[in-house]
């Protein structure tokens, strides 16, 4: 319980790194002077605002520096740029990333912040403007904080609540399959009760994982259900176990019920592993860790987040095991009384 208390407190109070939410306008033409209005998040532009530096980045070292940066308040600033009329390579439109460096907030980036349409008349002398400046001597913000990801923002904290649901579900189903195997070997009805208790609680965690995932998806992927491969597979997985419970309630003879459950349960667990861990990795998915996205790595889970994420996983698994024990004991009492 203490572990979960820590997760809920640390998961909520540790601040996010400063980041950039919005840059407007979102598109302009090359060869023009543009003033960008920038909205920050958790930023403190007014502190040491004389040393604010901003860049628009095309690729790697191909950048243009802001001519002037003016902070209005802690969350709003304007930066003026001259967009060169010529680009080092030819394209229909050029997406530029906005990079901001601040002595206190560190560096923040908004990828694809502004789209540039090519100019009608291109002055090749403008080409060298791309190489006059470099993004260098940048700062990093001190202290403990979670990474700022553009679409996620604060919802990155859901990593501590949504993901452990699935971890717990898998562990609970695994333990259940283990007890089913034991029932198969020994024929003790207690093992059957045990495996069913773990399935019941595993289903609760699975449904929670699905619901929390849907709420999160609505606010980041813009739909409760985007028919993402991992969403579909986890729904199928839950249906398999729900079918098991329905089947159980339709068999009257206790011995037959237990035997059928044990067989079906082991089969179900073996089926769930490819459903959740192999198939989503073979195709494209919105979920991290699938279709080539890195899972549990990169910027989605940095070391600060690991300090909360791993305890969260352990805490929720322990909670699941404990509740399953209670359910088992209740079912046993009900069977005897």
């Amino acid at each position: 319980m203490g572990i979960l208390l820590y997760v809920f407190i640390a998961g909520w109070i540790v601040p996010l790194k400063p980041g950039i939410i919005k840059v407007s306008p979102e598109k302009t033409a090359a060869g023009e002077l543009v003033v960008l209005d920038v909205t920050g998040y958790n930023t403190s532009f007014l502190t040491d605002s004389a040393h604010l530096r901003a860049w628009l980045r095309l690729t790697g070292d191909t950048v243009i520096a802001a001519q002037h940066v003016q902070a209005w308040d802690n969350r709003n600033l304007s930066a003026s740029f001259y967009i060169p009329s010529a680009f080092p390579f030819r394209q229909e439109a050029y997406p530029l990333s906005f990079v901001l460096d601040h002595s206190k907030d560190g560096t923040s980036v908004l990828p694809n912040a502004i789209f540039i349409t090519p100019a009608a008349i291109q002055d090749t002398a403008d080409l060298k403007l791309w190489y006059q400046h470099k993004i260098e001597n940048v700062h990093t913000k001190a202290g403990i904080q979670y990474p700022f990801r553009n679409i996620l923002a604060e919802t990155i904290r859901n990593t501590y609540f949504h993901v452990p649901m699935w971890f717990s579900m898998i562990i609970l189903f695994g333990v259940s399959a283990w007890y089913s195997l034991k029932y198969y070997k020994k024929g003790d009805i207690d093992f059957d009760r045990m495996s069913v208790a773990f399935i019941k609680v595993g289903l609760v965690f699975g449904v929670l994982g699905l619901l929390t995932g849907m709420l999160w998806a609505k606010n980041t992927w813009n739909a409760y259900w985007s028919w993402d491969v991992k969403q579909n597979m986890s729904a199928i997985c839950l249906l398999i176990y729900a079918a098991l419970m329905v089947m159980r309630s339709s068999v009257e003879d206790d011995m037959q019920k237990a035997r059928l459950t044990a067989g079906y349960n082991m089969f179900a667990f073996v089926l769930v592993i490819p459903l959740l861990f192999i198939i989503p990795r073979m195709t494209d998915s919105l979920h991290p860790g699938n279709g080539g996205n890195p899972a549990l790595g990169g910027e989605d889970l940095d070391n600060t987040m690991r300090l909360v994420f791993y305890p969260a996983v352990i805490g929720f698994i322990m909670l699941g095991l404990w509740i399953s024990q209670l359910v088992y004991r209740t079912d046993k009492l009900k069977g005897i009384a």
């Binding site: 939410i21 998040y41 958790n42 923002a153 604060e154 609760v204 929670l208 209740t330």
Partner: protein, 86 residues
């Protein structure tokens, strides 16, 4: 005071229904906020970093687990009652 048994069961049923409708209400409220975030005020929600989504997720987990534990508690109470009657 000794309650009539049928009355007691009916009361229990009523209470369960109350809890169920309460959970439903919360679920609806959560869904409502989520809808609001998607359509009516995206700029406002974005400016505060979508922290309500985290609140919603935590609420769903805590309330569901809480409701589940209450249901378990009721089951145990029922067994206790039965044992006392025997």
């Amino acid at each position: 005071m000794k309650l009539d048994k049928s009355f007691h069961i009916y009361g229990l049923f009523q209470q369960t229904m109350k809890i169920k409708s309460f959970t439903l209400l919360i679920a609806l409220m959560v869904a409502q906020t989520a809808l609001g975030q998607g359509e009516t005020a995206p700029d406002f929600i974005r400016s505060i970093g979508k922290i309500y989504v985290v609140a919603g997720v935590c609420l769903i987990i805590l309330l569901t687990l809480f409701a589940y534990m209450i249901q378990l508690d009721r089951k145990i109470s029922k067994i206790e009652k039965r044992q006392k009657n025997e």
